[in-house]
């Protein structure tokens, strides 16, 4: 008897060390998993931030521009309409570059020299002259946007030690840039163009302005449709629906729609909205419709939870003093549930803002330069713009695409913070 008892105890004691080791191992594995997850978040943000922050500044070159009357207005008519149509304003900065480096000759070299400045400067000079004709004949020192290759060189992304034949810039060009830099005529300034411009084939002129406005219109359409419809659906299902097969069917449908891949909604948009109803391609209106269908389940589920959290005593009190059921819901329950519904809606909108796959299907991937002026104009959205730039070979687009991600993420952070604030502020414990 005693023998076996001692035996059992000693067996347990002997194995205890091993068991505690296993316990510690398991614990560390759990901790490791969490640390790994947190590390992923950090790596993701650091990798995108370190790639993108440089896009918020842009290299500019100071040139003394002579608004030469012979170039702008050779006939001396001062007819601004005529000038705006005919005059070659790129001549102005080209002449200035030539004046800066007078010893550059030869067609190829001169053409290379002209490439220091972004050709978008033509439009800037034109707009300056058109709005202020008195400039003609004067000399002005202007900071003009440099070409994207020069920008990359200035930001240190082009390795000078690589042999010339493997580099995008020749030794000659680098020499010019260095000369400009030594004269103090090269600077990095905050990149307003990036925030307000539309898309462009030239990286230094491309901006997220068009995409942000497109996203705004799309979200506006989504919000205006999905919030009322979602709230109405939630009210019906939570407050009025009888328990029957029809409402069961609706519930099953909502749960399944929440898990349908987003690209399938894109196929629906393509087949129904574009091909069947003949709505315009690439329009934020159609994008908004598709995203409405996609975000509805999220909003309905959140709104139902909000309605469920309003205690029945509120409804009963309203009914008790003679309100109809519709009145009790709309006058008493809904106001209490509204903060919760709005939180859910904001989270749904954040989802919609980051969504791109269904929008690819309805043609919101087109290359669109103009900033859209309404929900029917062709437009693209921020995530799709990121996708488009990420596909472009130029190094400068990579930087811009990271910066666009930073802008997108900051919008999302702001929306989620708003949702948290709303919840904290209005949340009621009954």
């Amino acid at each position: 008897m005693t023998d076996t008892a001692i035996d059992t105890a000693s067996v347990v004691r002997q194995s205890l060390k091993k068991r505690y080791r296993a316990e510690r191992r398991f614990r560390y594995m759990g901790l490791g998993a969490i640390l790994l997850g947190v590390a992923f978040v950090l790596v993701l943000f650091v990798s995108i931030g370190s790639k993108g922050y440089t896009a918020f500044v842009q290299s500019q070159i100071a040139l003394e521009i002579y608004f030469d009357p012979d170039v702008i207005d050779p006939e001396g008519t001062r007819n601004m309409e005529q000038i705006g149509r005919v005059a070659d304003f790129s001549r102005l900065y080209k002449n200035a570059l030539k004046a800066r480096f007078p010893d550059v000759t030869g067609r190829r070299e001169v053409r290379e020299l002209y490439k220091l400045i972004s050709n978008g400067s033509t439009y800037r000079l034109r707009d300056m002259v058109m709005s202020n004709p008195d400039l003609i004949g004067t000399r002005q020192t202007l900071w003009l946007v440099a070409d994207d290759e020069i920008d990359m060189l200035n930001k240190g992304f082009i390795d000078r030690d690589v042999p010339e034949s493997n580099r995008r810039l020749s030794d000659r060009t680098i020499g010019w840039v260095d000369a400009i830099d030594e004269g103090g005529s090269l600077r990095k300034a905050f990149n307003w163009d990036f925030l307000v411009n539309g898309d462009s084939r030239e990286p230094e002129q491309a901006g997220i302005g068009g995409a942000v406005v497109g996203s705004l219109f799309t979200l506006l359409v989504t919000l205006m449709l999905s919030f009322p419809i979602g709230v109405a659906a939630a009210i019906y299902l939570e407050e009025f629906a009888p328990k029957n097969q029809f409402t069961d069917l609706i519930e099953v449908n909502i749960n399944n729609l929440a898990a349908v891949p987003s690209i399938v909604f894109g196929l629906l948009g393509l087949a129904v909205f574009l091909n069947f109803f003949g709505m315009p391609r690439s329009a934020p209106l159609v994008g908004g419709l598709v995203l409405t269908l996609m975000t509805l389940p999220t909003i309905i589920i959140a709104s139902r939870a909000a309605l469920k959290s309003v205690p029945p005593s509120i409804r009963e009190a309203a009914l008790g003093i003679g309100a109809s059921r519709v009145q009790s819901v709309f006058h008493h329950v809904l106001p209490q549930a509204l903060p919760g519904m709005m939180t859910g809606t904001i989270i749904g909108m954040a989802q919609a803002l980051g969504e791109s796959a269904p929008l690819l299907m309805i043609g919101m991937v087109a290359f669109i330069v103009e900033v859209p002026g309404g929900p029917l104009d062709p437009a693209t959205v921020l995530p799709v713009q990121i996708y488009l730039w990420a596909d472009s070979p130029e190094r400068a687009f990579l930087e811009r695409s990271s910066a666009a991600i930073m802008v997108l993420l900051s919008f999302l952070v702001a929306m989620n913070a708003l949702a948290v604030v709303l919840r904290k502020r209005f949340e009621k414990r009954w």
Partner: protein, 461 residues
């Protein structure tokens, strides 16, 4: 009249109708005022306003939705015989030209007199339609308002009438979920059926070769294209499998640690950080996979002497796994928390350590729920689009090697449908067949998963 102007006028009518209905109710109530009325006066206003706006808006919506189809039909009927009898896709091109010509856009061919006539006719019909719509909608608004105000009498039950309209609207809104499902099924199904008329179903489901490029001229070599989807399914499964290998252990272990070991402070800070991963848009993950992870894997493989494709399945799968971690962890967290405390206490009572309790008691008890959660995550991974579009390739290789480039169902849907398409080629229709497959597979996975999760919850409630 511009569309927004029509709507604005209609809104003005509605506001007026509301006011008028209210005033009229008070007037018919006479000197005894409100007490003779069945409902509060504003219900009479709402009643008139509803009749003024709802039918008009309904007609407006219907008109806008159908006018293009109807006008196009009129135009086609007026075209000369030889154009009308063209095959459907060529006819579509002609109609497009007519529309472009009428709208002053660029036309793809020389404008023949017939086309010019049709374009003029098109613009004329469009103007007429616009005018007719304006008149009809505004008349309906006024007529509805007048008709409704006729009903106003002290014994008229305005509140009940308004409330039943509200209820009908609520039902309508909630049936949009059903309409969406029907819309998805129909839109994908019809095109898929047309695809299966050209390519038989077994050839699609079991064919081993995928090259959807169809030739432009019919006599060109290799003009048929190959539509065997097995390489796509294999690629999708390979990438999803890699994602699950990453997501399930990390997600599950972090859920276990957070719910069983972590103190309230770690829990409160680590959980939101993990959930950030769920809120990041997929295009950001795609960017990360294509431009950060894929080069690292390629260079790392190069150091080890391995030949890694720059669009390897591994990069896409890894990043997709990272994306799914919070999904797995929050579902498992719910499930583990639902295991009753009594099971834990019993296990501690017979001397088990905490990890033994977790591994031998809690996990087996939570297994069905975790399995449901993993199934949901798999359906997520299969349907994920942007990561694979950006990081996985287009080459339909049938290979189990994660270092090679594979393509997936979603990638092919995107490549087949982005850009200009004819709506009749097998190439475009194939995208819908793939979409149908994707929809059905994810639907089945979701139904099974939701069923398991729900059943499991009932078990411990």
């Amino acid at each position: 009249m511009a569309l927004y102007l029509i709507i604005l006028v209609l809104l003005a009518f509605t506001a007026f109708a509301y006011n008028y209905g209210r005033k009229r109710a008070l007037a018919v109530a006479g000197t005894e005022r409100k007490s003779r009325l069945h409902s509060l006066p504003h219900y009479y206003g709402a009643w008139t306003a509803i009749w003024c706006s709802l039918p008009a808006l309904l007609v407006l919506g219907l008109w806008l939705a159908t006018q293009n189809t109807v006008i196009t039909q009129f135009i086609i009927d007026d075209l000369p015989r030889e154009i009308r009898e063209l095959p459907a896709e060529r006819l579509g091109l002609v109609v497009n030209d007519i529309r472009n010509q009428a709208e002053g856009a660029i036309v793809s061919r020389e404008v023949s007199p017939e086309i010019q006539a049709a374009a003029d006719q098109y613009s004329r019909l469009k103007t007429t339609s616009r005018m007719a719509m304006t008149v009809l909608v505004l008349c309906l608004g006024i007529g509805g308002g007048i008709l409704a105000s006729r009903f106003i009498a002290p014994q008229f039950r305005a509140r009940n009438a308004v409330e039943s309209v509200i209820r009908a609207l609520l039902i309508l809104c909630s049936s949009i979920a059903i309409l969406t499902t029907i819309g998805i099924v129909l839109s994908v199904l019809f095109e898929a059926i047309r695809f299966f008329e050209k390519i038989p179903i077994p050839g699609f489901l079991f064919g081993l070769e995928w090259s959807p490029q169809t030739a432009i001229r019919e006599d060109q070599v290799g003009s048929t294209g190959a539509f065997g989807a097995v390489p796509l399914f294999a690629g999708t499964l390979l990438i999803s499998f890699i994602a699950m290998v990453v997501a399930v252990p990390i997600g599950l272990m972090s859920a276990i640690y957070l719910s069983e070991y972590a103190g309230p402070r770690l829990r409160a800070s680590a959980k939101p950080v993990l959930e950030i991963l769920a809120g990041i848009p997929t295009v950001v993950y795609g960017f990360f996979a294509a431009l950060t992870v894929a080069p690292i894997i390629r260079d790392g493989g190069g150091l080890l002497g391995l030949d890694v494709s720059s669009e390897s399945a591994l990069a896409a799968g890894l990043v997709m796994g990272i994306m799914i971690i919070p999904f797995v962890s929050s579902l498992s967290d719910d499930v583990i928390n639902a295991v009753p405390q009594s099971l834990r206490d019993a296990s501690y009572g017979i001397g088990a350590t905490q990890s033994e309790t977790i591994r031998q008691v809690i996990l087996p008890a939570a297994l069905p729920g975790i399995a449901g959660g993993v199934l949901l995550a798999v359906s997520r991974a299969i349907g994920e689009t942007m990561i694979v579009v950006m990081a996985a390739g287009l080459a339909a290789n049938l290979t189990p090697n994660p270092l090679e480039s594979v393509t997936t169902v979603t990638v092919q849907i995107v490549t087949l449908l982005v850009g200009d398409q004819e709506f009749d080629s097998a190439k475009t229709l194939a995208a819908f067949a793939l979409g149908l497959t994707l929809f059905l597979v994810t639907l089945v996975l979701n139904v099974i998963a939701l069923h398991i999760v729900r059943k499991y919850r009932e078990q411990y409630d």
